[in-house]
């Protein structure tokens, strides 16, 4: 009797519905069998803004990594003939006709008729052509591969190309920004990694142990949460001895930024651990005699790795903005190191906006990077949320 009903039920469903559900069925099978990460990737890919932002970040990372190749000149090379010079935009056409090769106009030094100061002005009759993959200043690619090939240079070795102008010492803003990208992004990465490790340890201990250990850790976390963070960073940064080398300062900065970045993530890890502490599979592992670290890393953490990643991505902007702010007021990285914040130190006054606005170009990078990290973080969060569906 039951068999008959079931047969009827099956044969009764209409042809149209069936065809559709066969297609949908395939899709669904693929969906169910995909791993958690594949699913997250599928959902993330559909988030257009996040994909654009991720591309921007990737580009920035590449620019920074291959700074020696991309930047035509070193971050401290000077062009004394072109101080506070305006950006030179490569042209294909000018009053003397067009060319298939991009060129810029050469620079001649003139005396300002009023102030009698020497100023550099473009000479519209002098063309200097760009060459690509040309030999120039010797550098070490990635810091250890000797090379003198640069992405682009000027044909005439006596002239220098300043895409984004120069500062008061005649240093190329484009090259400096590219090098600064490496510094600022790497500080962010290391800072985030340090706070990640701290968060893992502190949150892990609090969440796994619970009880009074948790109470003490909660108190300490609360303290770090209430102290205004930039003034706190400033205090630590101010304590760096003046005679430290730039490398020492660099690592001290990453340490300072990483040192206080953990409370949010630690909190998340703690509360997640506390909530799954009593789940059967964790108790089973504990009864089976697994050591705490193994239980945490093998059984407890994997269940919310995606959330941790989201939190990590979201904490990047704070790192970058903090580094920029500290360096901006002279308490962070110090010249000759270049970072976005160090570069912006030269742009502290309104006069700069009026006279040499190109010194603000590094700020565009800061805004782009922070924006991109935020958008990618949001995209990842949506993608990691099991309740948001693929469609």
């Amino acid at each position: 009797m039951t068999d008959m009903i079931e047969n009827r039920v099956l044969s009764g469903s209409s042809g149209k519905v069936r065809k559709e559900s066969a297609k949908a069925h395939k899709k669904r099978l693929k969906y169910y069998s995909a791993s958690q990460w594949t699913l997250i990737w599928w959902r993330f890919r559909r988030h257009r803004a996040a994909m654009v932002a991720a591309t921007v970040l990737l580009l920035m990372a590449l620019l920074g990594a291959f700074a020696e190749f991309v930047a035509p000149y070193g971050p401290t090379s000077r062009d004394t003939k072109y101080l506070d010079g305006a950006p030179q935009i490569p042209l294909f056409c000018d009053q003397n006709g067009c060319s298939w090769r991009p060129f810029v106009h050469g620079v001649t030094t003139k005396r300002d008729p009023v102030t009698l100061r020497a100023i550099s002005v473009p000479d519209p009759d002098k063309r200097v052509y760009l060459t690509f993959l040309a030999e120039g200043e010797k550098t070490d690619l990635l810091g250890f591969i000797p090379t003198s090939t640069h992405l682009f240079l000027l044909d005439d070795k006596r002239a220098k190309l300043h895409l984004w102008g120069t500062d008061d010492l005649g240093r190329d803003v484009f090259s400096r920004t590219i090098y600064a990208t490496r510094t600022s992004l790497s500080i962010g990465v290391i800072g985030v990694l340090i706070s990640f490790v701290l968060a893992l340890v502190i949150g892990g201990v609090a969440g796994y142990a619970g009880g009074w250990v948790d109470n003490v850790i909660q108190r300490v976390t609360e303290v770090i949460r209430v102290v205004p963070i930039i003034p706190l960073y400033m205090g630590l940064a101010a304590a760096m001895p003046k005679e430290w080398s730039t490398t020492e300062v660099y690592f001290a900065m990453t340490l300072i930024l990483g040192l206080f970045g953990w409370p949010t993530l630690a909190r998340r890890i703690r509360s997640q651990l506390l909530s799954i502490r009593s789940e059967d599979y964790v108790i089973a592992a504990r009864l089976a005699g697994a050591r705490p670290l193994r239980i945490i890393s093998q059984h407890m953490l994997p269940s919310f790795t995606s959330f941790i990643i989201v939190d990590l991505v979201i904490s990047f902007p704070y790192m970058i903005l903090s580094e920029t702010a500290l360096s901006f007021v002279g308490l962070g990285l110090r010249p000759p190191t270049v970072s976005w914040g160090v570069l912006l130190q030269q742009a502290q006054s309104v006069r700069v906006i009026e006279q040499t606005p190109w010194l603000f170009i590094p700020a565009v990078f800061v805004v782009l990077a922070v924006l991109a990290f935020t958008v990618v973080g949001d995209g990842l969060r949506d993608a990691a949320d099991p309740y948001s569906d693929v469609r």
Binding site: R219, V220, E222, V223, R225, V226, V227, P228, I229, I230, P231, L232, M234, G235, L236, A237, A238, A239, P241, P317, L321, T324, A325, F328, V329, G330, L331, L344, A347, Q348, S349, V350, V352, I353, E354, F360, A363, V366, V367, L368, V370, L371, T374, V375
Partner: protein
């Protein structure tokens, strides 16, 4: 409610004690100590050579040769019992005299910024949630992303630039020339208010961006609640319904993050102060750090944190008063 208040009060005191310890540690980190720097300041340029013995004498005078724990107890004891924050060597006077009026100016900036933040973000956040997925909503989302990404010093510079174009040179700082040293009067307060909007605007910018997102999210959740449909089913008019039911609950997260906003404002203050030429605690703190004038820095850090902790306390109490469920949950 009384028990709830007392509990929070005790928690606040414990936190402050721990904070003071941390601040003291930070004051101790810079190489050399107060005596070195004091001696250097006092004798530099005088041609007198400083000997180790001189420094030792100073050290003894100030009690710097005592163990750290005792020095901490002295320091915090003097602050709590006598309101004495120690010596500001760069100014050769008491820390409290250096800080003086600047504390009140800082509070004026703080409350000006908070007021502006909430006046702008609450109505806009609610509007964005009600008009979800409209052009205005998308515009606001883009704005709030930008608000979070634009470094405040950059915004300060941009604002300063436009303000200069529009209002002439006298726009930075907190007072007009000549007013700064005048004694307090109605005219001076008015002058302060006229100057306050610029730092308040710059500092409120990212807080507004953040709060709009929070309010929009909670308001959207609240709008989907059954209680809203139920109220509508009783014939409550739409505007009144929005204000009385979802909006009333959507401001809870705002209230609960007041301390967080204060923290952010104080965090940004030293940097914005540099650009805008503000003469308040943020600027003083930055200079104290740059001069390694650690007693001044410590005092300011402690004061700022104290304000944040008090604001956290107020926000807890306010929240318990706003949301009757909380009192029950905690008792």
């Amino acid at each position: 409610m009384l028990r709830f208040t007392l509990e929070r009060l005790v928690g606040m005191i414990v936190t402050m004690v721990l904070v003071s310890m941390m601040v003291f540690l930070i004051m101790e980190i810079p190489p050399g100590d107060y005596a070195d720097r004091y001696a250097f300041r006092k004798y530099s340029g005088t041609g007198i050579a400083i000997t180790e013995a001189d420094i030792e004498a100073i050290r003894h005078d100030f009690g710097l040769d005592k163990p750290m724990v005792l020095r901490y107890v002295d320091w915090i004891g003097n602050i709590v019992l006598h309101g004495d924050f120690g010596q500001a060597f760069a100014f050769e006077t008491d820390v409290i005299k250096v800080i003086g009026d600047k504390a009140w100016l800082t509070m004026a900036i703080l409350f000006g910024t908070l007021l502006l933040t909430y006046l702008v973000s609450i109505p806009i956040g609610i509007y964005a949630a009600v008009r979800r997925a409209s052009a205005a909503d998308y515009g606001l989302t883009i704005f709030s992303y930008l608000g979070l990404a634009l470094p405040n010093f950059l915004l300060a510079l941009i604002m300063l630039y436009f303000a200069n174009l529009r209002f002439g040179a006298d726009i930075g700082g907190l007072f007009s020339a000549g007013m700064a040293d005048a004694s307090w009067s109605f005219a001076k307060v008015w002058d302060l208010i006229k100057h306050l909007w610029l730092p308040a605007f710059v500092l409120a910018w990212s807080a507004v961006a953040y709060q709009i997102q929070t309010i929009r999210a909670t308001m959207s959740d609240e709008l989907n609640k059954l209680s809203v449909t139920a109220a509508r089913a009783r014939g409550v008019p739409e505007t009144r319904l929005l204000i009385k039911y979802p909006a009333r609950l959507a401001i809870n997260p705002v209230v609960s993050t007041i301390g967080f906003d204060v923290n952010r404002i104080f965090s940004e203050l030293p940097i914005v102060a540099v650009v805008l030429g503000l003469t308040e605690l943020g600027e003083l703190l930055l200079n104290a750090y740059l001069d390694l004038d650690m007693y001044v820095a410590g005092a300011i850090l402690l004061m700022l944190t104290f304000v944040i902790v008090v604001m956290n306390f107020i926000s807890d109490i306010l929240l318990a008063w706003l949301d009757p469920r909380i009192k029950l949950g905690n008792n």
